[in-house]
């Protein structure tokens, strides 16, 4: 099975765009979070496809690290969402606007 790289990159771009839209338009913190993960993985996908195209393992190794960091980030992000929920009794991120000038 030999999928052209262009497809992979296009998929990556589509996924990234979806993630952006999700971050910008959704108010549910969980969904925003998921959209961020989507963007992250779109980037991973782009890295892998470039690595495949240039026959270089470094890109794939890099992705492993990104996945590990993303796992840690998920832990932190979910903990934040739990903390927000505890104080605001809601996970609507528009409720969290304490830094308004």
């Amino acid at each position: 099975m030999n999928v052209p790289n262009d497809y992979l990159l296009a998929l990556s771009a589509v996924l990234f765009a979806l993630g952006i839209v999700g971050v910008l338009v959704r108010r549910n913190a969980i969904v925003v979070f998921m959209s961020i993960e989507l963007m992250l993985n779109a980037a991973n996908l782009a890295l892998i496809s470039f690595a495949r195209e240039s026959q270089d393992l470094i890109g794939q190794v890099f992705v492993f690290f990104i996945i590990a960091v993303a796992a840690a980030e998920v832990a932190v992000g979910l903990a934040l969402i739990v903390a927000i929920f505890k104080t605001k009794h809601s996970i609507d991120i528009d409720q969290v606007s304490g830094l308004r000038g």
Binding site: L24, V32, I93, D94, V96, S97, G98, L99, R100, G101
Partner: protein, 696 residues
């Protein structure tokens, strides 16, 4: 000419101690005198001066081997440009003569003062004054030593001012006494201010000297004056005239003599030491010291002689009409100083110095004896008790008024005897000291200037007359007051110096006997080393006979007038019947003080009041200071505050703050606090950035 100190066998190096010892004495007394009491103070002060006399003696012996003298450098004092003044001591025969006289007479007067001021302390109930008196006294001697040893005009001037200061301090020593409780203080002020007039002349003379000869050092000035002086006669004449002004101030000559009679407000030892024996002779010493300049300016020398001659006669006439025992002596001092000034003006420097010495002896003697008389009268007044004292008229008892005396010959025999010696010496009765010195002056005057000789001879006659009058009023006849009848003789500490001075007054003539006698011209030969070739005073028999005869006639006239009885307080003077209005003029001192009051003091006071009230206060203070300076300054500051500080400085800062605030208000809106807004900003930024990288 200019010798190192080693020349005198090292003895010349001791010379500064003649100044240091009195200073040491005054420092010790200043520090400890009040705590250690009268006896200590008196011993320290007297022995300091006594030791200074010893130092002066060493200089005398050093000069025997090296009569040309030496200059003892002490410190570098002032160096500005070409002016270089070191403080050096000039030890030569002239200055050593003065040193010996000043320290010797001072020693005796110090001892006397220990006794005299003891009485004063008892009367004034202020023990601190005793110490203060001796501190001033030692300071005076130190200043006088600076004066006579100075080797330049400037060092001489330091001493000149120092003795003036001490004179002021000591005239006002009883500052709370005198007329209206301020009379003595005013007398001190008068002396000081009158002296300042003379000092002003001296200062100008110094400036001219430096301008003309480029130095203030005596040796250099004289050397240069002899070189180039004749070519610039005008300057030398001006210098000598201004020096004469200085001398008239310090030596109480016409027209600046008025301070000396008032100076009698001080304690009697002060009158004896400062206002008779030493300080007032500074002017004569100064003229003798600068004789080189006066020799180059015959006109000035002539004027000096005339001033001296006129003063001698003028003051002698006033002395005739005085009742205060010390005032008579004060005018007599002025008159005798006139003799000396006339002598130095006529070029008879040795005769002037000779009379200076003998006068120091007998006038110190007379003043101290007068002090003894005053103490006796005060003592008698005390003994007389209260009942009589209060019976008198409202006026306070004046122990110095000769009308309150009389008959003291029996009450105070020692004082009478020494007074007699002093009075006869002053009158010029041979063989006492005054005869020889006065006669030398008269002989010189008769040779050089007959007019001045006539003036001086008349003065000599009056001298005998007023001294006879004083003797008769004080010591002869019946006692005219209770106080005089009960006056006690004084203790030996007071009479001993009197006897010592009486011996000096009697034998002082031996210093410079006329030719033909053994050891003749001693002082002439001695001073020749400093004053150059001097013509030894000839003994003119006719002059001597005339002056002695006139002195005897004067005494006889006094006997005729006052022998039958002297006036008591309130009675007219017998002389008044003879002289009439002239005597009133004499009694009132020719109204010179009043004349000066109208001519000088009142215009001066009016001028200073005008300057103070109109110029200073109304114009300068109200007008210039208040209106121009203060109001102008206030205007400027007001403009700065309201016109510049508030709108410009404050405005700039405030506007900056407002702008910052406004800008911040705008930027605030960006911070919505919505995470999605931030994310969108990030996205937009990212897109812009990437598109810049990719497409630009």
């Amino acid at each position: 000419m200019f010798l190192e100190t080693e020349a005198g066998g090292g003895l010349f190096a001791l010379a500064p101690w003649v100044i240091f010892l009195p200073v040491l004495g005054l420092l010790v007394n200043l520090a400890f005198g009040r705590r250690l009491g009268e006896r200590f103070t008196g011993i320290v002060a007297s022995s300091a001066i006594g030791l200074a006399f010893g130092v002066a003696l060493t200089q005398f012996f050093a000069l025997q081997g090296h009569p040309e003298g030496a200059t003892v450098p002490l410190v570098d004092w002032i160096t500005i440009g070409s002016l270089s003044v070191g403080w050096s001591l000039k030890v030569d025969t002239l200055s050593t003569t003065m040193m010996l006289m000043v320290s010797g007479v001072s020693t005796l007067i110090h001892i006397y003062a220990v006794g005299y001021m003891h009485e004063d302390v008892r009367h004034n109930d202020d023990p601190g004054r005793f110490t203060r008196f001796f501190v001033y006294f030692n300071l005076f001697v130190a200043s006088m030593m600076v004066l006579v040893t100075g080797d330049s005009f400037l060092t001489l001037f330091v001493g000149w001012e120092g003795v003036g200061l001490c004179s002021y301090l000591l005239i006002g020593f009883w500052y709370e006494k005198g007329k209206d409780g301020i009379g003595n203080a005013l007398a001190g002020k008068k002396a000081f201010i009158t002296n300042r007039v003379g000092d002003f002349g001296f200062l100008i003379a110094m400036f001219l000297t430096f301008g003309a000869f480029g130095s203030l050092q005596f040796d250099e000035v004289f050397a240069r004056a002899e070189e180039i002086g004749p070519a610039m006669g005008g300057v030398v004449t001006a210098i000598t005239l201004f020096l004469l002004v200085g001398a008239t101030g310090k030596s109480a000559q016409l027209p600046l003599y008025v301070w000396l009679p008032d100076a009698m407000a001080g304690p009697t030892p002060v009158s004896a030491l400062i206002h008779a024996a030493t300080m007032v002779t500074a002017g004569i010493y100064m003229i003798a010291r600068t004789h080189v300049l006066f020799a180059l300016a015959p006109a000035s020398a002539n004027l000096v002689a005339w001033v001296g001659g006129l003063t001698a006669l003028f003051a002698a006439t006033i002395a005739v009409g005085q009742y205060d025992i010390k005032k008579v002596l004060a005018y007599s001092t002025i008159s005798q100083l006139g003799f000396m000034v006339a002598a130095v003006g006529l070029g008879a420097y040795v005769a002037g110095m000779f009379h200076l010495l003998t006068h120091a002896f007998f006038k110190a003697l007379l003043f101290l004896s007068a002090g003894s008389v005053i103490l006796g009268i005060e003592g008698g007044h005390h003994r007389q008790g209260h009942h009589a004292a209060h019976a008198a008229h409202g006026e306070p008892f004046d122990p110095q008024d000769m009308r309150n005396m009389g008959g003291l010959r029996e009450r105070m025999p020692t004082t009478f005897l020494v007074y007699l010696v002093g009075a006869l010496a002053l009158a010029g009765i041979p063989p006492l000291a005054g005869f020889f010195s006065k006669d030398e002056i008269l002989a010189d005057a008769s040779r050089v200037n007959p007019a001045i000789y006539a003036l001086l001879t008349a003065a000599a006659f009056l001298t005998a007359f007023y001294m006879g009058r004083q003797l008769l009023m004080v010591f002869f006849g019946p006692a005219r007051t209770e106080a005089a009848a009960k006056a006690p003789e004084n203790p030996p500490i007071i009479t001993f110096p009197l006897i010592a001075l009486a011996v000096l007054a009697a034998l002082g003539g031996l210093l410079n006997l006329p030719a033909g006698l053994p050891a003749a011209h001693g002082l002439t030969l001695w001073l020749e080393h400093t004053l150059g070739e001097v013509h030894p005073g000839e003994f003119v028999t006719l002059v001597a006979l005339v002056s002695t005869g006139l002195a005897l006639v004067g005494l006889a006239a006094a006997w005729l007038t006052y022998g039958r009885g002297s006036p008591a307080l309130g009675q007219p003077d017998p002389l008044k019947r003879v002289l009439g209005p002239i005597f009133v003029a004499l009694e009132n001192k020719y109204w010179v003080d009043e004349l000066y009051g109208i001519l000088v003091v009142r215009p001066y006071t009016a001028l200073s009041r005008f300057l103070a009230e109109v110029v200073e206060w109304r114009w300068w203070h109200d007008g210039f200071h208040d209106a121009v300076l203060a109001r102008g300054f206030r205007g400027v500051t007001r403009w700065l505050a309201w016109g510049f500080d508030l709108p410009v400085i404050d405005g700039a800062a405030n506007r900056l703050a407002t702008w910052t605030q406004q800008a911040a208000g705008l930027l605030r809106r960006v911070q919505t606090g919505y995470v999605r807004n931030y994310a969108l900003s990030v996205l937009i930024g990212l897109v812009l950035f990437l598109s810049y990288i990719l497409f630009a």
